[in-house]
């Protein structure tokens, strides 16, 4: 049915009483997400749309059994928010903030890995399991329009592209099992290859669509995984940024990490590695349903 989150997942919102936290909580509840608790220090006893607010993550977990959290806290409060969530035993953390430094991101990744938690992001719009639940702003006011239910998994380095991929599939009757934005930063809590593994293990995902960019080793690690383990489900990789090869390395035109760090991180090199590994590499959204058909993946709607 999905990876990471489903309709039963007990969800906590850290920073629930802020403008963004409150707004996204309401969208999430409307979507059907099982939001069980919020945290804003000093606001225990309040509620947001009936969701009880606690002073600490530990209290929220003890009272409600929350198992996943979304962070809507100010930048300065992010390190504590991650540490508190990990210490309270939360297993899935969705980090929405942009502008998290690489040094901080490395610390968060080390911390969550050491404690057996998974960090999605930072700089992510979130995770959405179609018709079940969503963590983060993903889908916003147009979740049902952009994310029809179906059996295709989407992992994207860009939050905007998760929705565009849903839109591109929809006319042809394909829909989403889970769509997630992994974050466009140099260092993310979870690399792309981990999401590919999760989709491979999900009985309700028939094929995997990736959106990749220039820079970082994420797409190359996916190619290595496919070569080493075989391609268990069709992988279609939409890769953007060929034009950057016309310009000197070290320049970012898009996401901070969408920059050619070395000659293995160009789109040409990534396209070759993924093609050699059996994946279909495409450059436009219109090709998404064509390649699904080529792989024999059947529409679900």
């Amino acid at each position: 049915m999905s990876i990471l989150v489903d309709g039963a997942t007990r969800v906590l919102i850290q920073g629930i009483t802020g403008t963004q936290g409150r707004r996204h909580t309401e969208f999430s509840i409307d979507y059907g997400t099982n939001v069980v608790a919020g945290v804003t220090p000093g606001k225990a006893g309040q509620d947001v749309r009936g969701v009880p607010v606690f002073d600490t993550v530990a209290d929220a977990v003890a009272e409600t059994g929350a198992e996943a959290t979304v962070l809507y806290v100010p930048a300065a409060a992010v390190p504590s928010a991650v540490e508190d969530a990990v210490a309270a035993g939360i297993k899935l953390i969705v980090g929405t903030s942009e502008g998290i430094s690489r040094q901080q991101a490395a610390y968060f990744r080390a911390l969550t890995e050491a404690k057996g938690a998974r960090l999605v992001g930072f700089n992510t719009t979130g995770v959405l399991s179609a018709g079940e639940a969503k963590l983060g702003g993903i889908g916003g006011e147009v979740s049902d329009f952009l994310y029809p239910r179906g059996r295709i998994g989407v992992c994207s380095r860009s939050g905007g592209l998760t929705g565009e991929i849903g839109l591109a599939m929809k006319q042809d009757g394909y829909g989403i099992s889970t769509a997630l934005a992994m974050g466009g930063d140099w260092i993310t809590g979870t690399p792309m290859v981990e999401y590919v593994r999760l989709f491979e293990q999900d009985p309700d995902t028939d094929a995997i669509i990736l959106f990749g960019e220039t820079g970082t080793d994420n797409e190359l690690e996916v190619a290595e995984h496919l070569v080493a383990n075989g391609m268990k489900k069709p992988v279609i990789a939409l890769l953007a940024g060929r034009f950057q090869e016309n310009y000197p390395p070290g320049i970012s035109f898009g996401h901070a990490a969408a920059m050619i760090g070395n000659d293995k991180q160009t789109i040409s090199a990534k396209a070759k590695a993924l093609t050699d590994a059996g994946a279909a590499v495409i450059a436009t959204l219109e090709e998404v349903p064509w390649r699904l058909r080529d792989f024999g993946v059947r529409p679900s709607n």
Partner: protein, 397 residues
């Protein structure tokens, strides 16, 4: 990324209690003469530009007499060294180097890494090529950092004599803390010198800080394509720093179709497709801002480019961000400037929250191509290419 100059880096290291030679930055020959006179045992004078390999570029001079400092400064000021204009020189006491090593920290991907080499004072790339076994590379666990003990072991592994190990270990631990706490991407110490007293001196230092919101105009993070920002690019870069509400960037290229695209991935897909289909972008943009003043600065820059002959306004389908705040400032600008949309085609593919308001404003602009809801992005790119190329045919007939 923001590369610091030597004086900035050494100031930071000194504040952390690390051993750096005494020095100062000056911007005239007379000031260089005065500074050099302070260092009785001689000094080193370097062009103060945020780049390595200055020695090979003739930008480092050994100074024995204050007049030599003045002459060298006279010569260096105004020169271009590795794309940077020399506005200042840095003069510091000359260290009697008994031995020299290499040390650097870098965080490109996960985890951060530390590099040590027995061979200091030469480019690490050269050491890798000629003597790779002289380089010790270690992963750093951010939860542990670099302990003095671990660093001492690394230096031993690199083949450094026992007598220097503990001092180098202690300095390495503190340097890692600076690297981490400054949010640096790289910190390179080359050479790490042992002076005549057997003490460590950090003689060559280079540090680059991360600039995730692109708040520095003159560094590698701000797109410059190996050239200085032009006047329009500079306006956008300055507004990015000075106005609140999200990030924006603008880079001029040599084509004729203006791109007001954004949202990381989507703008890049559109740019790729435009080139593949024979269109030529006049610029690239990336922005996350919904501040109307900021949007206006960006739109003005795109339209002020003398080469631009058409405009594509196309972001990914917005899920949360309001598109009216991005479209309306552009529409207002087109109206104010009385742009003839028959001669300057504008294609808009903007969908999501605020779309009815955005469409309403565009209704007052006859000839604008606001594409129907949920039109595929490929159609938008192909249409602006077609309309712009038809301008040529019109002009030819």
């Amino acid at each position: 990324m923001r590369r610091l100059t030597e004086d900035e880096t050494k100031e930071i290291l000194k504040a952390a209690g690390l051993p750096v030679p005494t020095g100062e930055a000056v911007s005239s020959a007379a000031a260089a003469r005065t500074a050099a006179a302070r260092f009785e045992s001689g000094s080193v004078l370097k062009a103060l530009v945020p780049t390595g390999r200055r020695g090979k570029a003739g930008a480092v001079h050994m100074i024995d007499a204050p007049d030599d400092a003045a002459a060298a400064t006279e010569k260096l000021l105004g020169q271009i060294i590795h794309d940077f204009q020399v506005d200042q020189v840095y003069i510091e006491e000359r260290v009697a180097i008994a031995d020299e090593f290499y040390l650097s920290f870098a965080i490109e991907s996960y985890p951060p890494k530390l590099l040590i080499s027995r061979q200091g004072g030469v480019d690490i790339e050269d050491t890798f090529r000629t003597n790779p076994e002289a380089v010790v590379m270690k992963d750093i666990d951010p939860l542990v950092g670099v302990t003095a003990d671990a660093a001492t072991e690394y230096w031993r592994e690199a083949g450094v004599a026992d007598e220097h190990l503990r001092k180098l270990g202690d300095v390495t631990k503190t340097l890692y803390e600076v690297f981490r706490d400054q949010g640096a991407l790289t910190l390179e110490l080359n050479p790490v010198a042992i002076d005549g007293n057997g003490d460590v001196q950090l003689v060559g230092t280079m540090m680059a800080l991360e600039d995730p919101m692109f708040l520095h105009t003159d560094s590698g993070g701000m797109v410059s394509l190996g050239r200085k920002l032009n006047e329009r690019e500079r306006r956008v870069a300055e507004a990015n720093i000075n106005l609140p509400g999200g990030m924006m960037r603008y880079t001029e290229l040599d084509g004729d179709i203006g791109l007001y695209v954004g949202g990381g991935g989507m703008g890049v897909i559109e740019h790729d497709l435009m080139l593949a289909e024979g269109g030529r972008p006049a610029n690239h943009t990336d922005s996350s801002t919904v501040n109307a003043d900021k949007v206006r600065v960006l739109a003005e820059a795109i339209l002020d480019n003398p080469n631009v002959r058409g405009l594509l306004v196309s972001w990914h389908f917005q899920q949360m961000g309001r598109i009216d705040r991005r479209v309306i400032p552009v529409a207002e600008l087109l109206t104010e400037r009385n742009v003839d949309l028959k001669k300057f085609p504008v294609v808009i593919r903007m969908f999501g929250p605020g779309e009815p308001d955005a469409r309403k404003v565009c209704e007052d602009l006859p000839g604008i191509h606001y594409l129907p809801h949920a039109t595929p992005v490929e159609d938008a790119v192909r249409l602006i290419i077609k309309l712009t190329s038809e301008l040529d045919q019109g002009a030819a007939s």
